[in-house]
Symmetry: C2
Subunit: 233 residues, 2 copies
Amino acid sequence: MPFAVTVDLAVFTVRGGRLHVLLIRRGQQPYEGDWALPGGFVTPRESAESAARRELAEETGLAPDLVAALHLEQLRTYSEPDRDPRMRVVSVAFTALVADLPEPAAEGGGDAAHARWVPVPEVGPLAFDHAVILADARERVGSKLEYTCLATAFCPPQFTLGELQAVYETVWDTALDRPNFRRKVLATPGFVEAVPGAARLTGGRGKPAALYRPGPATALHPPLLRPSEGRTP
Amino acid sequence: MPFAVTVDLAVFTVRGGRLHVLLIRRGQQPYEGDWALPGGFVTPRESAESAARRELAEETGLAPDLVAALHLEQLRTYSEPDRDPRMRVVSVAFTALVADLPEPAAEGGGDAAHARWVPVPEVGPLAFDHAVILADARERVGSKLEYTCLATAFCPPQFTLGELQAVYETVWDTALDRPNFRRKVLATPGFVEAVPGAARLTGGRGKPAALYRPGPATALHPPLLRPSEGRTP
DNA sequence: TCAAAAGTGTTTTGGGTACACCCATGA
DNA sequence: TCATGGGTGTACCCAAAACACTTTTGA
């Protein structure tokens, strides 16, 4: 039973108030020239997660230390017999969240030249079953924000509560009440920690905002539920 | 890159107030004679989920229609290079929940003769990395009960609210307040539906209980949280 | 002095918890 | 008539929602 095993990555970031996903343009058959999720084959002596980090670094030119520190999470495994026209390929999909990067991520050499951040609503048809993987990943990210502290992964090392709220609003595509969001976040022990004395002007205008960094907590109890959910309209 | 792909199943049931998992005794090397989760190789023309159902039917002698209707959920994929001493094996793990079965499930021929329901606390060492898979699956089942309607999968087609509560209490290993549990369940639209006119005596003693069947809902909003969680003691 | 964004306070409301109590049945 | 389990009622509490309000900056 000769199976090939691959990994596929759905890497998200928030940039300019919109959710983006990292895509590469395929340089070879099949689906040559089409957009696809980054990924590749698992080699004989590595786990799927190791392969995911290796491929991400190779294909996108993201900084190695960033890739090593990245929060990677297994999404699920896709194993339909005909998902790859060449042969039988089983693919383990991962999701990752990164902060908006100073420069367009994908300026490395080789493969990396074909990597791009694409706003999720503007993503067109993708190679293989990657559209399904992307949809699953997007859904997962949305619900992860509800009951984990993962939203800080979308933020730079130090961030304002306004930026954190923008992450939620972008991923969920809803508006949140600022005072209530603030209270909720600060009331969850270990979600964020104040950076003593620091403040930053966010958009040039307005009052400078206090800076926070991620705290030690990973779970959110009680959860921070999406507004439209949990209600019976 | 010659990989073998397998499936492993963590099938749970509640029996006599205790959580049980379905195990088989291995009839061949490696780990011959040890207990293991049911599972087996994915064949070239089937998906992992199909393979899981097929293997479950073959190895345990569960009724085919029951296996076909079973709620199977992908847990995650285990891909450490040395998890199988023979060769490189990547395994897709699934969880399933079934109602307590009239007879000990495993009375079919062949492989099935070696299948047994084992109380989870009494499970000893398992073959391969199955102890890890079992622990992951158990954790997943516990949290699934919080925010999905899946608990009914542990119950027969018609059940009392007392039986449903016993499922929660068994899986979570906590006592729940009956009046509050009742209100909560009935207040969630589509979780359970009353079976008109029906009632059943549960243990010979006590008032006959009304019967319910699973409703159309799948998610639980708001969630039914475990007592110890969500509090800061 | 105005717009924009941060941050505080207050009222209301709904769900969860705890617990007291009644009902129907078998022994 | 008593133990057992099903079912109802109710008072309390806390956290979330809604919204009015103050503060600090750049233009």
